[in-house]
């Protein structure tokens, strides 16, 4: 069971309080874009995932806690969390990730 740092509660909490919510930073196309998108483009948004073997940006929901969704960078081979950050913040740069590892 992971121990996950919730950026809103600002403390580490056990994984069973959280629900995994999939890859992060997949932005839902706005109404106009949806209208213009082909089925193929739309399926990219809907289904295609990086599924990286390495540092993965992903969403978690502190379901049994502050009830907030947030983002995390986690290494999918070691399962180690590099950082967590609030919803709305952009994808961290390579440098930010490297700094967080220090």
């Amino acid at each position: 069971m992971f121990e996950i740092h919730c950026p809103y509660c600002d403390e580490k909490r056990p994984e069973i309080e959280f629900a995994y919510a999939g890859e992060a930073h997949i932005v839902r196309p706005n109404a106009q874009d949806q209208g213009e998108m082909s089925d193929a483009d739309w399926s990219q948004y809907m289904f295609i995932r990086d599924n990286v073997r390495g540092e993965h940006c992903e969403r978690w929901w502190h379901q049994h806690g502050c009830n907030m969704f947030f983002n995390a960078v986690r290494h999918t081979v070691t399962d180690k969390f590099v950082m967590t950050y609030k919803m709305g913040k952009s994808r961290p740069t390579a440098k930010q990730i490297a700094d967080a590892k220090k």
């Binding site: 890859e23 399926s43 809907m46 599924n51 993965h56 986690r74 999918t76």
Partner: protein
């Protein structure tokens, strides 16, 4: 050397010193007609069928570790085909057809044991859903029958069918043709048979890149053992499929999750079939060694760590004890994790890719082992003909664009 009781006897007299290697290690050639990436049951099987059915023997199977070391050797060995949709019933039942007789075909005992798979219904919704399966299977010619609670008990005497249980048994669906097989033997049996037909099995040979020509078609693979040319490449790499597809510049509708399983200490025979329960979330059988083989659910997050969380094991064993209070005193001997690749509709992708010469067999999720011979046969067919067989044609990539998903889990639906 042909395997038989006779050869076993003869070799015993010579101290078993003359058995040949089952799948000799080969150094890679410069080029192959077909390279299969992934030395699990699916990949080795595909190589075997390419050679056996399609006469394509200039084939290499590249395995980054040791053959059968991935999900083939990490699953709970359940084989069944009582799926709802025609497409799923088609491919899984084809697999069961091939399982039957596979030991003889390969001259290698894979110990396919048709002991029956009993799926328990615990609420009205399960009953409706299972009945739907039973009826659909009947009209599809797939063996699966509905049992009342008492019939379940008659078939499996240790089952507790009292009505006051938290999850009472309200009936079950039994596929008698289903069962288990010895997982390692499947990989080894295919490897040995393919090897005899001229296929090169190359272990400890991780693929690090897929080379494509000016026309976009594949030309070969970069590996730890150097560049190897290939006219066609079939990727059958389960949890690592996304990583390999990425090498060819493709992004796939896949996510890889940890899946755990465990066994108990061996005890004398007590469980004569495979039992599955969706509502309680557990499945269990007893191996020929006497171990209770138990499947757990996936962890919630994607991961390649082959390591899962304790609470998943706890929940699985809670469920086993809930269905079988008789097993509460048994002891967990060993637990382990695998990586399963899951598509959005939890059905596999078996067929061509947008890259010419690149074929894929992935997305089997938790259902891969049972499909082994079927998936292997279909991958081989698709590679040989550069076109899918009608059995695997529906399991294409395009379904995610148009929306014609094959969603067994959605059809099993959710409680209302």
């Amino acid at each position: 050397m042909k395997y038989s009781a006779v050869s076993l006897f003869a070799n015993a007299l010579s101290g078993h010193k003359n058995w040949p290697e089952q799948f000799p290690d080969k150094a890679p050639k410069k080029e192959y007609d077909v390279i299969i990436v992934g030395g699990g049951g699916h990949g080795l099987g595909a190589a075997y069928y390419l050679a056996k059915k399609h006469g394509i023997t200039n084939v290499a199977v590249l395995e980054k570790g040791w053959i059968g070391g991935g999900n083939t050797g990490r699953n709970t060995t359940i084989i069944r085909s009582n799926y709802l949709f025609d497409e799923s019933a088609g491919i899984y039942d084809h697999a069961v057809d091939l399982w039957d007789g596979l030991s003889q075909e390969l001259n290698y005992n894979v110990m396919f044991s048709k002991r029956g798979v009993l799926m328990l219904a615990h609420n009205v919704h399960d009953v409706q859903s299972f009945q739907r399966h039973v009826h659909a299977n009947r009209l599809n010619g797939v063996d699966n029958k509905w049992l009342t609670p008492q019939q379940c008990k008659d078939f499996l005497p240790i089952l507790d069918i009292s009505e006051d249980r938290r999850y009472p048994v309200m009936g079950g669906a039994l596929q008698m043709r289903a069962g288990t097989a010895r997982h390692d033997s499947v990989a080894w049996g295919y490897a040995r048979a393919a090897s005899k037909l001229g296929v090169d099995i190359i272990q400890n040979c991780k693929v690090t890149g897929i080379k494509r020509g000016a026309d976009g078609a594949v030309e070969g693979v970069e590996t730890e053992k150097g560049y190897i040319g290939a006219k066609k490449i079939g990727v059958s790499a389960a949890g690592n499929s996304s990583v390999l597809m990425e090498m060819a510049g493709l992004r796939f509708p896949l996510e890889s999750y940890p899946l755990q399983a465990l066994v108990s200490e061996p005890v004398k025979p007590v469980l004569n079939c495979v039992v599955m329960s969706n509502a309680v979330h557990a499945y269990i059988s007893q191996s020929d060694k006497g171990e209770l083989v138990i499947g757990a659910g996936t962890d919630q997050y994607t991961s390649y760590s082959q390591r899962g969380a304790l609470h998943i094991i706890e929940h699985t064993l809670m469920s086993i004890c809930e269905i079988f209070p008789i097993f509460k005193r048994q002891r967990m001997l060993r637990s382990w994790g695998g990586i399963v690749d899951v598509t959005p509709d939890r059905s596999p992708i078996v067929g061509k890719t947008p890259v010419p010469g690149l074929y894929v067999n992935c997305g089997w999720g938790t259902g891969g082992f049972k499909a082994t011979p079927g998936a292997a046969d279909m991958l081989a067919h698709t590679i040989a003909h550069d076109a899918p067989h009608k059995i695997n044609a529906p399991f294409n990539l395009d379904r995610f664009v148009g929306g014609r998903l094959i969603d067994e889990a959605a059809a099993a639906a959710v409680a209302h």
